[in-house]
Amino acid sequence: MAKKPHATPNLDALESGPWPSFVTGLKRLAKDKDAAVDLLGHLEHSYATKKGYWKGGTLGVYGYGGGIIPRFTEIKDENGKPTYPDAAEFHTLRVMPPAGMHYNTEILRKLADIWEKHGSGLIAFHGQSGDIMFQGATSENVQKAFDEINEAGFDLGGAGPALRTSMSCVGAARCEQSCYDEGKAHRMVINSFLDDIHRPALPYKFKFKFSGCPNDCMNSIQRSDLAVIGTWRDNIRTDEPLAKKWFAKHGMNEVVNDVVARCPTKAIQLKEIKDVRKGESISAVALSDTHALEIDNSDCVRCMHCINVMTGALAPGKDKGATILCGGKRTLKIGDQMGTVVVPFQPLQTEEDYEQIVELGQKIIDFFAENALEHERTGEMIERIGLVNFLEGIGLEPDANMVGAPRANPYVRTDGWDEEVARIKAKQAAA
């Protein structure tokens, strides 16, 4: 039995309604745990006064420099004593999930038991960087909780100016659009940089994210310093029985308006079967006895739309890999930045292919560590020094796939033009 609950009229209002209520869950914890009783009181105080009352600090586990988010209460009486003493220390352990966030119930129960024993019993699946967030340990219990979580096979994630916990989509495990083994890449890359996760020493945070296709379900282009997004080089594959089945169900209006008209590069056309072209870059599939879809793959930008609409009837090709983009981030300080292409196509078939992502990651992290200003993300660094300097720094060749369009102003010194053209031509000739 825990101590008497505080009055929480504001939070009580979040118990009604059909969506699962975190308040009801906290109240259940508060039956046994004083920390949950005081957390509810603490949160109610925020609701009543419309302000937050946690301050950070420095706290860690033995051997690591990061991964714990310390929280100390700022709600105190005139003598400096915490008003909610059992939630006065309410620290979070950020713990890296398995790629694709797969669990069995045995490990979930084990993690829940550990957190019931050493923490408040409140766990978030998952934080915005992908961590399992074990919230609400006292300073004393952080180490105890970590030791047991670590023995269960889990490790702390990143916090502060460090490599951060990563995320990957369900991908190859259950998605036909998957263009590589996202879980393999995720685990291989992150586990190559554990020192950069556990001992923060970078200019600022650095994030990898792994999406298996250009639908980018991990939102990697907007949220990661290095986004690995699956794609393919050969032709879209087709399946006539599934195409005919789709057409029988959806009809001509949907083919025209939802598939053909929505292709961003007009690479897909509806044709009478007799008019369908043949050629190396052409994919074609009959929809009926009279009509077919014809795709000119050399015009296709692998946007995924037609494949999303007609899944199975159309599918990514077999020459699979990823496009790698660098420098995505959200607002502060210079404004939103999308990742930009630094590797148009990285094959991902062999072990060596996957290792190349690790090598690229290492080069970029090293360059970032040496050249970024304090609290500057890779996107801001690239904005400051220019993409060309960045590419030279990490040893990548410029490529027309890296730009939306060539420069639109003359403010550049071009006195090395002839040598550069000769160098590129020689390289092309040698290839």
């Binding site: 937050g52 890296m96 790629a99 797969h102 998952h126 030791d147 999308m338």
Partner: protein, 364 residues
């Protein structure tokens, strides 16, 4: 003496630096068996995905909403359901939905009944409104302007039916963020704190708490400079320059940006990370000045619901919110939603002229 004491202490346990665990040990056996070999999928009903492998094997996935911030009892309840119906395996989505995979179609219907009976709505697939990606807020963040879980609970109560149905033109992703850093991320519709007043500085504390050059460097508009205030080293703000982003507050808590009255909420629309159709887009601010009004944030919910209703009525199949606005144009977006276009929505940050209309493309 000190050495003797150190020896007397129990040695600390060294961490096992194991990193990301191998997901294969936790993966549903049908998924593991068909890894990289899936052929296509369909959706027999909202909340259910049916995947077919090239091997002919099939798996049904039932997706349910959770509160994300879960107590251990809720986790155990979900595990009980997973043990009873889904061979003891689950996974979570990026939007904190839980997924139960079953290799036997007959288990789907009773699993759905059990989940909904236990209070977990089944849905969030395809062209539905999925669970809101969100942050920590007053519950646990050190710099929040508002709550996160509470805003999400209040909104999802209102959007419950849209989560359980697939009636939107295309999928709808929502996010909330409790400060302008926007940890919630880009979304079709996002609710983000918008500060309206410069920080209030506690000059007694700055010298002891803040690394002043770092704080000066953090300001996007160079509005902060070192100053001696009441004989103490502190910082001062050029309030004419300050655009109230709150960037100085995390490295320097005595520069309090939060305020019960002046911390407002803004609504942003049209963010899309997928490359499908148009290239990925950033979301745009379309409303601001909404009150931060716990416990149910009714004013915010009203705007979000209005935008969703208009989008649902007006967009064509497969148009994400950004695709829809591309077709109808911003003036008509404001006209149809009844939101007011103001001068504050005209970008004046670096590169802003790229956001202006440099053409005669105007819809009359």
């Amino acid at each position: 003496m000190a050495q003797a004491q150190a020896q007397a202490q129990t040695p600390m346990r060294k961490p096992k630096e194991t990193g990301v665990p191998d997901n294969k040990q936790y993966m549903h056996p049908t998924l593991l068996k068909n890894l990289g070999n899936w052929k296509y999928h369909d959706r027999p009903r909202p909340g259910v995905l049916h995947h077919v492998s090239h091997s002919g094997e099939e798996v049904w996935t039932v997706r349910a909403g959770t509160q994300r911030q879960m107590d251990v009892h809720t986790i155990r309840k979900l595990c009980d359901i997973g043990d009873k119906y889904a061979e003891g395996h689950v996974r979570f989505t990026i939007r904190s939905n839980i997924e139960f995979m079953v290799a036997d179609e007959k288990k789907v219907a009773p699993l759905i009944v059990e989940l909904e009976k236990s209070g977990f709505p089944v849905g969030g697939t395809g062209n539905s409104v999925s669970m809101i990606a969100h942050t920590q807020g007053w519950l646990h963040c050190d710099i929040p302007g508002t709550d996160a879980s509470g805003v999400v609970k209040a909104l999802m109560d209102e959007l419950y039916d849209e989560f359980r149905r697939e009636e939107m033109p295309n999928r709808v992703h929502l996010s909330t963020s409790c400060c302008e850093i926007n940890c919630g991320g880009q979304a079709d519709i996002a609710i983000i704190v918008q500060y309206t007043k410069p920080p209030k500085i506690n000059h007694d504390l700055v010298a002891n708490v803040c690394e002043r050059p770092a704080v000066v460097a953090r300001c996007p508009v160079a509005a902060i400079r070192p100053a001696l205030v009441n004989g103490k080293p502190s910082l001062e703000i050029d309030e004419k320059k300050c655009m109230c982003c709150g960037a100085c507050y995390p490295p320097c808590p005595p520069m309090q940006i939060n305020d019960a009255e002046h911390t407002k909420l803004a609504i942003w629309v049209g963010g899309k990370n997928s490359n499908a159709r148009a290239k990925p887009t950033f979301m745009k601010m379309v409303a601001s000045g909404l009150p931060n009004n716990p416990p149910r944030w009714v004013e915010v919910a009203a705007v979000v619901k209005t935008i969703l209703r208009v989008y649902k009525d007006d967009a064509r199949p497969w148009e994400r919110l950004s695709d829809w606005v591309d077709r109808i144009g911003w003036p008509r977006f404001f006209e149809k939603t009844g939101l007011t276009f103001t001068k504050y929505l005209i970008d004046d940050w670096r590169g802003s002229r790229a956001n202006l209309n440099a053409s005669t493309h105007i819809r009359f």
